[in-house]
Every structure is written in C-alpha cells, then in structure tokens.
C-alpha cells in the first residue's frame, strides 16, 4: 500500500509498507476531515514489521541527523486539542546521521507489541495507533511521516453471561417485564428477548429499542459525558393488551459499535446501553435503560 503522505515536502518521499500488507485485513477508519480510509488491522502481541522507503526527489539529496521509526499509542482529547497522550511509545533507530541520495529501504520490526487498547474514534476522544517515521534534520526541520493502523483485540466469550430480566412499571398504568437473553454481547451478536405486558392502561403507539453509547472523558470535575443513540429499532407497532408478549430480535451487525471500554488509561470510558422506549398516543415516552457489555469476539472465518 502506497500512501503518499506528506508529499508537500519537496525533499523526499517517505512510504511505509507492512510485511504482510497484501494479505492483512483492512478496516475503514474515519479521518479528521471526514474521509474514510482503509487501514491495516492488528491486534495486541502481534509483530508489526515492514519496510520504510525513503525516496529523495530527483536530483536532491537528503541530509539528516538520523532516521527513526516510532510506534505510538495515543489518546487524544478533542477538548484539549493537540495534546496527545502517548501510552505506548516504541522507537527503532533506522539510520545514523548521513545523507541519502537515492531510494533507500529500511526494514523494521516491533515484535510482540503490547497494545492493550483498541483503536477508538469517539465524540470527544480518539485512541489511535500510528507508526511515525522521522528523518531528523538540523535546520530545515525534520521530515515526518505517519502511518495509522488499527488495533482490535479479541476476547473469549465471557464465562458468566446472565440474562437481563426486569419488571418495571408505573403504578396502575403500565407494567412490563422485559428480558434480554444476555448481558454481554459480542459485536456481531443478536439481542433476543421478550417484552411481557402485564398491565396496559395507556394507549401505546409503538415501542423502540435504542442502543446508546455513553462516552465519558476526563476525570473528576473535568469529566465530559457524551451520549449518542446509535440505533433506533422499532420493536412493536400498535397497542398491546394485557398478556401480550412481544419478541425482541436485534441484529447488532449493521451498527457501528465498539467493545465496551472501561477506564482506558484513566482517560475515558465507553459504555453501551439498551434503552427500551414506549411511546403513547400523546407522544409521551416511557423508557428504561439497561447497560450491556459489548466485546469483540474472534471471528471464526478470519
């Protein structure tokens, strides 16, 4: 994969290729400018290896004080723009100071890199992994090239996965009991369940199940909480009578979900909730929110 990054610098062209770049799975990542690009996918403990090509432009030579490649894991808070926090930083020196006249290739390898956190693109926070190549120069400014890559970590199915079952209601008005088959879902999972109507005295128009993401960033007084509704899935149309049970079946595949992240490096958390909403004919909303845990299950096929 040849991504021409930082081509505005006339001095040289730096490109980064991964060893198994042809076969490695690519996943789409949304960039700052809204563009979607495909980036290679890694997981923790993988060896990240490849080659870096430095290609001076025709007839130019690049003088440098050394070439290095860094593997960075960064957390970026948007309200604190530009202030990266690197939780992982590995460096490989590639070259001693000197001059480059022609295309030069440096192989590199970070073996069994510990990458505990997943790449995440949130409302207020971003966690990204990047390879940073720096051609250090004294006065002309260093030439820097970045290559993003994505990290996803797979976990085995949780040993304990209880269903969520709850009875809620408003006295003499509405009593329902709902049940979701699990409390922990993997990202390609299906939520199955049932809603039992024990008492219905209001005229219900419809019932939706919302999947909400709650992202909290910062700590203490500076905590920012952002809640997004990622999915709104209609479960029922019309008014049920007492004794009805309405099936729930929500496929998670179509939604852009991430695993639940708890207190990532003390910087941020991402939690998911199922919000059951009943709307009556006067458009009043009755809802009950339940947290679910999302995790990434190793896909059998890949």
């Amino acid at each position: 994969m040849n991504f021409l990054l930082g081509a505005f610098k006339p001095a040289c062209n730096i490109s980064i290729t991964f060893t198994d770049g042809k076969n490695r799975k690519q996943v789409p990542i949304k960039k700052d400018n809204g563009q979607i690009v495909m980036n290679p996918l890694f997981q923790s403990q993988e060896t990240i290896a490849g080659k870096i090509h430095i290609d001076p432009y025709q007839g130019k030579k690049v003088e440098h004080n050394g070439v290095k490649v860094e593997l960075l894991g960064q957390i970026e808070m948007y309200f604190d723009r530009g202030n990266f926090y690197d939780f992982t930083s590995l460096v490989r020196e590639l070259d001693v100071p000197g001059e480059i006249y022609e295309r030069k290739t440096y192989p590199f390898e970070f073996s069994s890199v510990e990458m505990p956190y997943e790449t995440y693109n949130g409302v207020n926070v971003r966690l990204r992994y990047v390879l940073k190549v720096t051609v250090t120069r004294g006065y002309a400014g260093s030439i820097v090239e970045y290559q993003d890559f994505v990290v996803r970590n797979y976990v085995p199915p949780p040993p304990i996965n209880n269903s969520i079952k709850m009875e809620v209601g408003i006295e003499d008005c509405l009593h329902i009991e709902f049940e979701y088959n699990k409390s922990k879902y993997h990202l390609k999972d299906v939520i199955l369940g049932k809603i039992y109507f024990l008492l219905v005295r209001i005229k219900i128009k419809n019932m939706d199940l919302e999947i909400r993401r709650r992202e909290s960033t910062g700590a203490g007084a500076n905590t920012h909480v952002e809640t997004e509704t990622l999915a709104k899935f209609e479960l029922m149309d019309g008014a049920p009578v007492r004794g009805e049970s309405i099936p729930v079946r929500v496929f998670l595949t179509p939604y852009d979900l991430t695993p639940t992240h708890t207190n990532i490096n003390n910087k941020f958390s991402v939690k998911y909730y199922l919000n059951l909403v009943l709307v009556d004919e006067e458009d009043r909303r009755y809802f009950k929110q339940q947290e679910i845990t999302l995790y990434r299950l190793k896909e059998e096929t890949s």
């Binding site: 479960l235 149309d237 049920p240 009805e244």
Partner: protein, 789 residues
C-alpha cells in the same frame, strides 16, 4: 369530508408506493440487493399509515402485495446467485421499522421454506411469532393475512415434497392455528379503537375485514392430512377455544358460521357434540339460531345428497344432540325472544324432517320441546314469533303432505294452543288447505275429531273475542274451506262414515251464528249422500241398533238444521228441510218425511216474511211435495191443502196466480195412478185463471203501467192446460183451452203485450203436436181453433 381525506391519503400513499416500487424494480434489474431492500422497505413504510379506513387500506395493501411478488422472485434469484438465504433472512431484519421488516421477513421466509435449507417448521414458528410485534389491529391483520397468503401453498402436508413427517405437519397446523388465533384477537380488538361514537361505523368496517380472519379456517380445511382425528382433537378445540374466549358477538357469529361452512360435513357430524356444546357459551347477543340453522341446513343437505351418510346420523345420534343443544341454548339465553327460540326449533324440525323423515317420534319430540319452551313464555303475541311458529307448524305438513300423519303427532295441537287467535286461524286454514290440496283421505272419526280440533280456529269463535274487523268476503272464503273439508271426509264403511258425520256435527255446531249457514249445508249434504248410499244397499246390515240407519241420521239432521233456523237463516233451513224430506221419502220413512215438511211449513209461516222469499220458498215446497210418494193420503192432503192455501195468500197477484197453477201439479203425479186427481187440477187452474183475470182488470184500471204481465200469465196457463192435456187429464177440455186462447188473442189485439214470441212458440208447439202421429195429435184435435186458420 372524511371520505375525501381518505381518498387523498390513499392517492398520496399509492403514489409513494408506485415510486418506491419503481426504484425497487430498477435496483432489482441491476441486481442491487441493498437498494432493493431499501426501496422495498420504503414502499412498505406506506403501510404504516393510520389514516386510511380499512377499505382504503385494503386497496393500498393489494397494491403493495403485487409489488412484493416481484421481490419474492428476486429473492429467489438472489439465492441462486450464491447469496445465502440465511444471510438474506438476517439482512431484511435490519430494517428499523417493524412493519416493513416483518413484511420483508415473511417474503423471504416463504422463499426460505421453499429452499428446503431449513426445516419449514422453524421458519413458520419464527414468522408467526415475530408477527406478534404488530399489535395495531388493522396493520396486524393485514400483515398476518400476508403471512398466511405467502405461506399457504408451502405448508407441509402428507405427500408434500417439503416434509412428509407428521411432526412438520402438526407444526404447520399449529402455525395456521396460531396465526388464526392472533388474527382473531386483533380483529376483535378493533372494536375498542377510537371513540365510542363511531362504534357502529367501526363494526361495519370490521365486518368488511372478517374474511381475512376466515381465510385461515379455509387454509386449515385445505390443509392436507387434516383428518377427522386431527380435526376433532386439535383443530376444532383450538378454534372453538378462541371463538369462546374472544367474547365478541361479531366474531363468534362469523366464525361459527365459517367453521360450519368450511369443514366437511362428516367432520361436523362426528364432532357434533363439541360444536353444539359451544353454543350455550357464546355471547347472549350472538344470533345462535343463524349458526345452528346453518349447521342443520348443511347436514340436511348432506343427508339428502348421500345415502351412505344416513347411518352415520343415526350412529352419532345427531337428533338428540341437536335437541339437547337447543334446549341448552334456550336455557342459557334467558332473554332470547320467543321468535328466536321458535326459529331454532323450526330449524331442528326441518333438519329432523330431512334426515329422519321416518321418525315421527323425533318430530313429535321437537314439537314437545317447543311446547315446553312456549309454556314458559305463554301465548305468543309478537308478529315475528307468530310467523315463525306458523312456519314451524307448516314444516311437517309440507314434508308429509298428509294431515293424517300430523294427527299422529300428539304435541302438534299442544303447540297450537300457544298461538293467538289470529295465528291459530291462519294455521287452521293452512291445515285445511293442505287437506284440500292433497286430497288427503281422512277416514276415521278419531282422525276427523283430531283434525277439527286442530282447525278449531276456523270452526268456532274464541271466548270473548269477536273480531269485528273481519272482512266478510274473507270470512266466507274461510268457511268455504271448512265446507270443502267436510266434503272431503269419506269412508266406504257407512258405519264409520256416520261416526264421522256425528263428529263433524259436534264440531260444526259450535260455530256460532255466522258460521252455521255456511257450514251446515255441507254437513247436511254429506249426510244425505250417506243416506243415499245406505238406501243403495239392500238392507241395513247392522240391525236396528246401529247408528248408521237413515232414520238416525235424518233425526240428527233434523236437529242440525233446527240449529240453523235459530240463527236467522230460515231460507236455508227450509231448503235443507226439504232436501231431508226428499231423502226421507226416498227411504220410505213417512213420518220422518212428514215431520220435515211440518218443520218446513212452520218455518215458512213463522220466519219467512219477505214476499219474494215466500214465492221462492213456496215453489220449493210445491216442487218437493209433488215428488213425495211415501205420504199417506191424509197426510198428503193436509200438506197439499196447506200449500195451496199458502199460494192463495201470496201478496202479489201474479205470484198468487203462478203459485196456484203450480199447485195443480200436486194433484197429478205421472207415475202414480192414485195420485191423479184431474178435477182438482182443473180447479186449481181455473182458480189461477181467475186470479189472472183479476190481474187483467187491475192493469186495465191502471193502464199504462205494465200490461204485459197478465197476458203472459194467460199464456203460461195455456201451457199448463196443454201439459195436463198431454198427460191425459180428461177433465181438461178443448173448450176451456179454446176460450183461453180466444181470450189471449183478444187481449193481444188490444195492447202490445210484449209476450208475442211466447205466444207464437206456444202456437207453434200446438201445431207441431197436432201433426204428430199417434195419440198426441188426437188429443190436440180437440182444440182446433180458428186462430190457426
């Protein structure tokens, strides 16, 4: 206004459907699954509307339905192109809105079943379960209707290529049953939607949707492999459970009817007690009679169409089950109007007549049940009930076409007791008409007794109710029926016949003054007929103590006719007396004959005062008396004398004259030698002529009025003379005749008599007789007149 909006919304929805369908089609053409799903979901979203009335919604649904057909084919092709159907099945479930999602799911589901990738059962279960999510009655109904529609040709059944095992079949059954149950629930729930003011309208709309629900039952009935056992153990109980539990009048009514119409007859027959057992559990407002009548009608037809089925009817004791069920229904529905319960019994009766036409005891039992029911309600007063009960009583009549059979039904008259007078009469007419129409042979006195008991409404007035509004003509018509009925009663055995007559008499005499004049003649003549028959036999075969002697009967008749004279119908009574006298004469019962004459005379003297009536009566008396042969000379003399006396005392002279010359016949009986008193004949004629003269004088005195009368009288007299001349009365002389002729001629010359043609005919007759050979011309020789020269 609302209808207009309706139209507008429908048009808008239709347009949207059309547009999305177009895009969908385009996506399909370019094999773009994602877009096809997207646009189909958008198209289906139009069905989410709440604005349309069921009718309009149906139109919209049909439009969408047609488009979904294309989609189904597309799905099928898509699976052929390697897209896993399971994936598709999941994919359609990503749709955010429930209604489009479920429509798509049903569509793909039907393809899934066909593909044989999975067990049909699982898919069916899933579909029917998922459809629960639409709780809106109208939308839910249509969704489930769609489900039923797309799966119906794919349900597994015996021999089906999909899955042949019994489990799958039961599951298919379960699927349809469940879908039916849910649909019915939704349908029933519709009535609670919206304001109570529009209830009526809503019920109407609901009624329009009922076939959506009923279709499920149809599918069930078409489902292969549903045999009697499954039907009895699974299908029917499940359906009925739903029917009972929904507690909705409209639904119960419709579904019961549906069950009855959709499933085969022999199923019904074998599950009769189950089906009937449900009836009392239905809502009180349900029109059970329609339901039951439908069932009975069906079974009746079944029995009629296949003879082999009949033993089954006996085997399952269909009758007693129906009878019991109806009893239960009537019991359970306390406020069932009389008309309703009678209708029920009517249908039971019809059923019984159809199926068990030879079981009179059953028929009687139905009647008995009806009596029990009626005894609770008392006399029937409302028109509807009366109409029903008439139909009820009419049914066996029409079936058997024989009143005698009806008479064997002991409960029949008991039912009639509960009719009001009007209805009772109507019924009586029907019964009598049936006898007349079918020429039913009623031949025993007991039957006759029973029959008249039934026809009481015609025979007599009811206590205290004298209807003044009765149309005279109708009344006569009715009584004519009775009279005709009397004539219809006949038995070859005179003994029995006389008993019949006695019975009839007993009943008829209760009829009251208005009826007697119309009915008694029939009785009298019927009796006279019998007398004539008795006389025809050589001798009385019964001995004297038998009732069927002419004397006894005549005695009876005498009393009967007397009843008539009491009710101011003397003319009629007189005639009947004379008829009786004739019969008595024929039987050579002198005293009886004399007795009758006495009575007739008395009547004449006491009751008949109108002069015209007198004339007629007198003529009858003379005519009858003339023919009497059994009377002794004295008795005859007395009677003759009296008659002549009456004649002379008539009011109008011409009447007098005529009566007197008629009396001449009393002294001359052709075939009886000792009854030829020529002299007295002539005396009579002379007296008559004298009266005629008086008439002549009177007319001359008051000239100008009617002068023809007297001439005519003379001519009539002339004819009488000629008659006796011909008969050989020697006292009639040529001179007398000649002088009379002379008189006529002179009178005719004086005035226009108007009797010329009569005279001429008479003269021609004389001329003719004279020219005959033999004795006749001889007799006429004497009256040679110059008139003829």
């Amino acid at each position: 206004m609302i209808a207009e909006d309706d139209e507008k919304w429908l048009a808008a929805a239709n347009a949207a459907v059309k547009q999305n369908a177009f895009y969908m089609q385009r996506a399909i053409d370019s094999n773009n699954l994602k877009d096809a799903l997207k646009f189909s979901a958008q198209m289906l979203s139009e069905l989410r509307t709440s604005k349309l009335s069921p009718h309009k919604y149906y139109e919209l649904y049909m439009r969408v339905f047609n488009e979904l057909g294309t989609l189904e084919i597309f799905f099928k092709e898509e699976t052929g192109r390697g897209c896993s159907i399971a994936e598709l099945y999941e994919l359609v479930q990503h749709a955010g809105n429930i209604l489009p999602r479920l429509y798509l799911l049903c569509t793909i589901g039907s393809v899934y079943i066909k593909s044989k990738d999975v067990t049909t059962t699982d898919i069916l279960k899933d579909l029917v379960e998922m459809c629960r999510a639409v709780q809106h009655p109208l939308r839910g109904l249509f969704l489930r209707s769609y489900l039923a529609q797309v799966t119906r040709d794919k349900l597994p059944s015996i021999g089906s290529e999909l899955e042949g095992d019994g489990d799958a079949q039961m599951n298919a059954l379960e699927f349809v049953l469940q879908n039916f149950t849910e649909m019915n629930k939704l349908w029933v729930r519709m009535q609670h939607q919206g304001s109570s003011r529009e209830k009526e309208k809503r019920e109407k709309e609901r009624n329009e949707l009922r076939d959506l629900v009923g279709k499920n039952l149809h599918v069930l009935s078409q489902l292969e492999g549903v045999d009697l056992g499954i039907y009895r153990d699974t299908v029917l109980p499940r359906i009925l459970e739903q029917v009972v539990n929904c507690k909705d009048e409209l639904a119960q009514c419709y579904l019961m009817d549906c069950i009855i119409q959709v499933f085969p007859d022999d199923f019904h027959l074998q599950t009769l007690d189950v089906l009937l057992g449900v009836c009392p559990q239905l809502q009180p407002s349900v029109d059970i009679k329609t339901v039951l009548s439908g069932l009975m009608e069906r079974l009746s037809n079944y029995a009629a169409s296949s003879v082999e089925a009949l033993p089954n009817f006996l085997q399952v004791e269909a009758f007693s089950k129906f009878n019991y069920a109806i009893g239960k229904v009537v019991e359970a529905q306390v406020d069932l109007p009389a008309a309703g319960s009678v209708t029920l019994y009517l249908f039971l009766l019809k059923f019984t007549l159809h199926v068990y036409s030879d079981r009179l005891d059953y028929v009687d039992q139905v009647l008995g049940s009806c009596v029990t029911q009626l005894s609770a309600t008392g006399k029937l007063c409302d028109d509807k009930a009366a109409k029903q009960i008439v139909a009820f009583l009419r049914a066996p009549l029409e079936k058997y076409n024989n009143v005698v059979t009806i008479l064997k039904l002991t409960n029949y008259p008991r039912v009639m007791e509960y009719l009001d007078h009007e209805t009772n009469k109507t019924m009586a007419i029907i019964i009598v008409q049936s006898v007349l129409k079918n020429n039913t042979h009623i031949s025993t006195a007991d039957e006759v007794d029973a029959l008249f008991e039934l026809a009481k409404g015609l025979i007599k007035d009811f206590d205290g109710t004298i209807d003044n509004e009765i149309d005279e003509e109708d009344f006569q018509e009715e009584q004519n029926f009775v009279a005709r009925l009397v004539h219809n009663l006949y038995n070859d055995d005179p003994e029995e016949m006389s008993k019949i007559i006695f019975t009839v008499r007993k009943h008829i005499l209760t009829g009251g003054p208005k009826r007697l004049p119309l009915t008694i003649p029939a009785l009298v003549f019927s009796a006279l007929k019998l007398i004539r028959r008795l006389r025809g036999g050589d001798e009385n075969p019964f001995g004297d103590d038998a009732s069927a002697t002419p004397k006894r009967i005549l005695q009876l008749l005498s009393e009967t006719v007397e009843a008539l004279s009491d009710v101011s119908a003397p003319d009629l009574a007189l005639r009947l007396y004379l008829q009786c006298a004739q019969a008595a004469n024929d039987c050579e019962l002198e005293t009886v004959t004399y007795e009758f004459f006495t009575k007739a005379y008395l009547l004449y003297e006491e009751e008949i005062s109108d002069s015209k009536a007198q004339v007629t009566a007198l003529r009858l008396i003379i005519g009858t008396l003339q023919r009497m042969r059994v009377l002794s000379v004295e008795n005859r003399d007395i009677l003759t004398h009296k008659a002549t006396g009456y004649s002379a005392r008539l009011l109008r002279k011409p009447d007098q004259c005529r009566a007197v010359y008629e009396c001449a016949h009393l002294f001359w009986a052709d075939e009886c030698e000792n009854l030829k008193d020529g002299e007295r004949v002539v005396l009579c004629l002379i007296r008559a002529q004298r009266i005629a003269d008086a008439v002549q004088n009177m007319t001359n005195a008051s000239r100008g009025t009617s002068s023809t009368g007297s001439v005519a009288l003379y001519v009539e007299l002339l004819n009488k003379y000629l008659y006796f001349l011909e008969k050989g009365n020697t006292k009639v002389t040529g001179d007398t005749i000649k002088s009379l002729a002379e008189l006529i001629r002179s009178e005719t010359k004086k005035v226009e008599s108007g009797a010329e043609s009569f005279i001429n005919s008479t003269l021609r007759y004389i001329e003719f007789q004279r020219q005959q050979d033999g004795g006749m011309s001889e007799k006429y020789e004497k009256i040679k007149m110059e008139w003829f020269e």
